[in-house]
């Protein structure tokens, strides 16, 4: 090493020493969202939500007198990568908390790191019930997302309202689909004993052609379909099903955020009229209070009129942390866990509570019938009317 680079190293070292000194005044939140790969879009928007929250808090003077810093790493929608990045955040960036995750496997991977490193992790999007099943559950993991129990049961409630009696299901042949199936079939049997499941279709992972399943369902003679063909897959499914007259023949209730405004906008006329779908957020459901403020902020940030649904997910996930830190008056892990258990917060989409026994938020979702909007400024399908299906009675 020559003299110059020695000097340089010295400067860097002293710089990092100053940084370390200032560290006590910052609360670091490690955000793990995919910003590349197949779930990039969800990741980018969710990260934006987390960052908006941090900006708001910092502008208002911080949290317990400390500024918040959000440090992001790309989880690439791959569990091994997410594991490495979660460790990277903890070991190198010395973050105090982790938020994020999209797929169930990434959620599990981060949860495992959070258990080893004894760092709180708020699962923003992973839904699969495995993550909080007794053998995997631990005190450092919390879920802000609605889980598949809530989602499947909400769909059963709607199937009941629509008076479906002969039901077909089409669910993806991986954990998300199977967990939805358990919740849906159990709940429909309870609330609508006369309904019968006549056919179950399980499209395989990575499939892009659903026609065989569509044909089987149409031949099964059911009057209603419960689907877990989620938003990323739905455009292909809808375009393949529509020419068969599928959506005219059956009532269609679908989980997986198919009702999100960005999906409806992108699909345009290809979004089938009259299906029932859900979303974490629909900007048009109310312009009042916190929701209106959040939407306005998002419109400004993104420069669009019709705002997407995912930012609020990242916002609320991080909000659990900040509110718990405020309540605990400290960012010590045990104190924050204690504060999180049973915590109630006001989010842009209404009040929520974090259940103490299994660390599951009572996150419901918006459900509605997708119909062509009469509003000229929004010439797409939208939920009319929008209803928020409350999770409390559906969680177990």
């Amino acid at each position: 090493m020559d003299k110059k680079s020695l000097l340089l190293t010295g400067t860097v070292l002293s710089l990092s020493a100053t940084a370390a000194f200032a560290e006590g005044d910052i609360i670091k939140i490690g955000a793990l969202y995919p910003t590349s790969g197949p779930c990039q879009l969800i990741g980018e928007y969710s990260l934006l939500g987390t960052e908006i929250l941090a900006e708001e808090i910092n502008a208002a003077g911080g949290l317990n007198g400390k500024q918040i810093e959000v440090i992001h790493r790309d989880s690439k929608c791959d569990p091994a990568e997410a594991t490495a990045m979660a460790r990277d955040l903890i070991a190198r960036e010395e973050v105090d908390f982790l938020v994020g995750g999209v797929s169930s496997s990434v959620g599990q991977a981060i949860s495992e790191v959070s258990r080893q490193e004894e760092t709180i992790y708020i699962a923003a999007i992973p839904k699969s019930t495995q993550m909080t099943s007794p053998e995997n559950f631990h005190k450092f993991v919390f879920r802000a997302a609605a889980n598949t129990n809530t989602e499947g049961k909400s769909a059963a409630v709607i199937a009941d309202q629509l008076e479906m009696n002969k039901i077909c299901t089409i669910l993806m042949d991986y954990s998300y689909g199977h967990s939805l199936n358990e919740a849906f079939t159990a709940h429909i049997a309870k609330i609508r004993p006369e309904a019968e499941i006549v056919q179950q279709e399980w499209p395989k992972n990575g499939t892009t052609d659903y026609t065989a399943h569509i044909t089987n369902i149409m031949a099964a003679g059911c009057d209603g379909v419960f689907s877990g063909v989620w938003a990323g897959l739905f455009p292909a499914f809808a375009k393949q099903a529509a020419p068969f007259g599928f959506f005219n023949q059956v009532k269609y209730v679908t989980a997986g955020e198919v009702g999100s405004p960005e999906v409806a906008e992108q699909m345009g006329a290809d979004m089938p009229e009259g299906i029932w779908a859900n979303s974490y957020e629909v900007f048009y459901h109310s312009a009042a209070d916190a929701h209106g403020e959040f939407t306005a902020k998002l419109q400004e940030k993104l420069g669009v009129e019709n705002t997407p649904s995912w930012p609020v997910v990242g916002y609320v996930a991080a909000q659990w942390l900040t509110e718990a830190i405020a309540k605990a008056g400290s960012s010590e892990t045990d104190a924050v866990i204690a504060a999180l258990e049973g915590l109630s917060i006001d989010t842009p989409i209404g009040p929520q509570t974090m259940r103490a026994e299994d660390h599951q938020a009572n996150r419901g979702q918006f459900w509605g019938k997708m119909v062509q909007s009469a509003d000229d400024s929004y010439p797409y399908r939208r939920m009319e009317p929008v209803s928020y299906v409350v999770a409390d009675e559906l969680m177990d």
Binding site: G37, L41, T215, P235, A236, K239, Q240, E262, Q266
Partner: protein, 296 residues
């Protein structure tokens, strides 16, 4: 399952139309593989790019009659042009190199094209609507069937016949066949083998682009669609026989039909079954169902 003839009939059409749309893509792959001996992992990325180019062209040509069809042809041309550039500037320097380096080169292409798509079209799932006149279903006497899927069946057959004619009945096709069998011989006859390679790569890539454009109204455009299709194409090419056009046709049909009847017969293990089939074919007939064993 066969107690309902109408259901069987529709499933047959489902399988055929899927198989034919896969064939258009796999045909390009097998052509390149047969002549250039390059295992082109980027073929799926070319397919994806074809779909996205089609999306933009459809938008650009909205209002123009036959816009979608022009867009589909435009995608094929765009991909041909890109393949030409790739071949002239880079790939041709690798023909003499170990197989491994060609493979690595196609990996690099996959990554770059993936980013290119992301940069240009963003990360939303994009959707190309069915072309006008093909939005509905056709009455086939015993059942209605979506007209676009029927069109895909037809297109597969047209591409198959066209390629068969080109390879077996034209002068250029003869050279392609000869290059597939013995490139040294062809060289010693004073024929510009490099040119044949270039044309094959360009033609195969154009097919990938065309396949992507045709698929665009039937599926959704998203990142990752390249990784899905390339595995399927490999399965087709392996089952049918590396480099064999007829084999690719047969392989595509098998995969398509397995997709529609597999979900009825073995709903749970379809995914395992496909790979098992690939293994078994390679074990007992490594040169594929319709390929010819090579003198080793």
């Amino acid at each position: 399952m066969f107690d309902n003839p109408m259901l069987t009939f529709i499933q047959l059409l489902n399988g055929l139309s899927l198989g034919m749309s896969l064939f258009v893509i796999a045909a390009g792959l097998t052509l390149i593989l047969g002549v250039l001996r390059v295992l082109n992992f980027a073929h799926g990325a070319f397919y994806m790019l074809g779909g996205y180019v089609c999306f933009s062209l459809v938008k650009l040509l909205s209002g123009v009659p036959g816009g979608f069809w022009l867009a589909a042809i435009g995608s094929a041309i765009a991909l041909a042009g890109m393949a030409y550039l790739i071949e002239r500037t880079m790939l041709r320097h690798l023909y003499e190199r170990d197989h491994l380096y060609q493979l690595l080169f196609t990996f690099a292409l996959v990554m770059i094209i993936g980013d290119l798509v992301r940069f240009t079209w963003g990360t939303q799932v994009l959707s190309v609507s069915l072309p006008p006149g093909f939005k509905g279903a056709v009455n086939l006497g015993i059942a209605y069937y979506p007209s676009y899927r029927l069109f895909l069946c037809l297109m597969g057959v047209i591409v198959a016949v066209g390629m068969w004619y080109f390879v077996n009945r034209t002068r250029a096709g003869r050279f392609v066949r000869a290059a597939r069998q013995d490139r040294e011989m062809l060289e010693s006859l004073g024929i510009n083998v490099g040119r044949i390679y270039m044309l094959t790569f360009v033609g195969g890539s154009a097919l990938a682009g065309f396949g992507g454009a045709l698929a665009a109204p039937a599926v959704a455009l998203s990142q990752g669609m390249d990784a899905e299709i390339i595995v399927q194409c490999f399965i087709i090419v392996i089952i049918g026989g590396l480099g064999s056009l007829g084999g690719a046709f047969l392989g595509a049909l098998i995969l398509g039909l397995l997709n529609s009847f597999g979900v009825m017969l073995v709903p749970n293990f379809e995914i395992v079954l496909i790979y098992l089939m690939m293994v078994v074919v390679l074990m007992i007939r490594p040169w594929g169902l319709l390929g010819k064993p090579e003198a080793q």
